[in-house]
Symmetry: C3
Subunit: 302 residues, 3 copies
Amino acid sequence: MELLRTLLFVPGNRPKMIEKAKGVNADALIFDLEDAVPLAEKATARRMVSEAVGSGDYPHFKLFVRVNALTTNLLPDDLEAAVGRNVFGIVLPKAEYAEGIAEVHLMLLERERRLGLPEGHTRILPIVETVRGVLNVSQIAGCHERLVGLAFGAEDFATDLGVERSREGTEGRYPMAQIALYARLTGVVAVDSVFSDIGDDEGLEENARLAKQLGFRGKLVIHPRQIEPVNRIFTPSEQEVEWARLVVAAFEEAEARGEASVAVNGKLVDIPIAERARDLLALAEAISKQQSAVNFQKESEK
Amino acid sequence: MELLRTLLFVPGNRPKMIEKAKGVNADALIFDLEDAVPLAEKATARRMVSEAVGSGDYPHFKLFVRVNALTTNLLPDDLEAAVGRNVFGIVLPKAEYAEGIAEVHLMLLERERRLGLPEGHTRILPIVETVRGVLNVSQIAGCHERLVGLAFGAEDFATDLGVERSREGTEGRYPMAQIALYARLTGVVAVDSVFSDIGDDEGLEENARLAKQLGFRGKLVIHPRQIEPVNRIFTPSEQEVEWARLVVAAFEEAEARGEASVAVNGKLVDIPIAERARDLLALAEAISKQQSAVNFQKESEK
Amino acid sequence: MELLRTLLFVPGNRPKMIEKAKGVNADALIFDLEDAVPLAEKATARRMVSEAVGSGDYPHFKLFVRVNALTTNLLPDDLEAAVGRNVFGIVLPKAEYAEGIAEVHLMLLERERRLGLPEGHTRILPIVETVRGVLNVSQIAGCHERLVGLAFGAEDFATDLGVERSREGTEGRYPMAQIALYARLTGVVAVDSVFSDIGDDEGLEENARLAKQLGFRGKLVIHPRQIEPVNRIFTPSEQEVEWARLVVAAFEEAEARGEASVAVNGKLVDIPIAERARDLLALAEAISKQQSAVNFQKESEK
């Protein structure tokens, strides 16, 4: 499973923000060609994004491009701008059907062949953000090996349902449960929605914590100041990592003795708990590698 | 989508309540032949209801008749009493299968032909109020074009599940999410359950607000005093309408300039937000038309 | 529906606990051959459990044996030890597919025939405790007439989802709703997960109350001190039973008069409420019979 704690949206038509994004500490950037870009600027944005991802200036990020939905006539040109060696994947809004993703796959394949990239090089992160998408999660999940995750779009979902998005996310509970379970079932990352109120730090943290508790591994963010708190919430704490080390070590010794459980600090550790500990350690290691890459990059820029 | 904020149950065997209902401000009346009417009075109730709906005295309401469930032998006579020119639809309790609704459709069709009414004149509002009904919502929703909505019956659902209905509605969260999503998917109104405690104004409001947040557009009510608060909750506020007007106007200007987003009062408005605003304006207009009809009726009665 | 308010886990390799379990007031005992027993002690545990269930010393309990999952190679030997005249059923962990249960059925059948037991003597209580199991509840429920219930395993589920189990059970809401509804649909008992923190009485009670509200009828327990509070929560109160008696009596008189509803203490009682009252009385009677058996046993031991 890929490390995708924070995915920062960067408007594809804003040179300053594209430049500034180089220095942020997100796990991924999403250059946006969709909602942030007015129709009149789509062509300009495609050029800017294409140049940015081709520049090699974002080596320590997973780079995504959010293209326009399959139902628009903008998608082919968007993909033309998006697909490339440095691009980890595309973010596909308003995902509703497995067939739609199969269609996008063919369009990607054609471009990958033309550019001499390995087939399947470009991953897909679909955003489930319509009523139909939510009710079709079971068919979207696992429909293609390009899928790297399933993201939830709370704002558009609320609109499509005809309600105002609530701070507590009442209306999103069922969609989130569906997305988290199917992501886990198919071994991909569940990515939570943006939190739109940039000034509401407490709301952001509550929002991210709830998502984590429901099984999400990361969150879309729309402002650099949201990166630190979200990274923090989706990163295991030092105590957790310490606990996981103890548990894994104790459990491995127990297994070597032919035992299926062991006491750690007075608490019984059995297979499921040992698995959870291993999961935590793998996550901590991925985070540490990512942090090294960021630091190396920052050093080399000095 | 029809305007159905409040649907008031009127016992079919109570002449005073049938009379009194003429003056209430609900969007719809439901003359009840089911739970409110003891077996010994079903025939009397049918006559009273048939007379009431035939009288032309309820011109500004959508008139429904709640018939007995398909599993009873009471349904054919109920439909005989219910179907008529002034009757907007029937409320079908304990809906569980698409097949059941297809059966009711044929019974309605036969009566409509006999009475010279347009085929499909009589709409159906099924109440999902059993465990099986909840688990079959996906097959009930959209199974017939007569469907005008999907209603939730929290009391019977709790009983069928074997629990006491809670004030917070914990046990109803999953059913409500299912009903709201499938209603929206199929373009019909999600109608929330009755709130039985007539004296508990605060409980009623919380209950209605939760339903609204989950995507419901209206609520069954059992007492005239419940109408005003429920209407209010399912009516957009003046500020909301004002905001929606601003947003739609600004967005249309932006679109004319070839732009896909615009700032309104310092906040970005993109396509989903503009759609939500249009939705609010359409609702406000439907409410204003309904209110004019009520007022005209009250004037002409003076 | 069987009475299964409390099912106490008893480690199969702990003679003292096996002995002590004779005196507890749970509705069922589950002798555990799975998570509580290290690999090196599986054989010993099977002998101890086989002896205990064969002893006839647990006459007033429903006796279960938790076997190891179908995916292990331990299951055939576990079933050899488990199946017997006094054993009410097996608890099957990590249930994920109807096919798996059909396989276990065949293994049980072979043993029942060999032992001269009636075919189907051994019931199955599957534990749904993986993401896949939760997403497959609709196929597991009702897949075989041996099923006596559906149990939820919150700890393993949280681990499989990759989260830490929360005290409020946020991550378990959707799984619990699914399990409760499908259990009810197929007429079997929904059994809630263990609550691991043995010292947290308040947490246990909140946990059990939430489960009850969602439609669960009982709970797995891991310590004798958890039995009394959980039994209490899943037992109707005296007032509830008194109310149910009044309601059923009044409703039967009303029915005899040809009426479908009646006022009891000023509140309207219709068919769904009368059904709920009957349900409560049946539960109270089953509890009373169980308590008599326990008391008779305690008397005869004096």
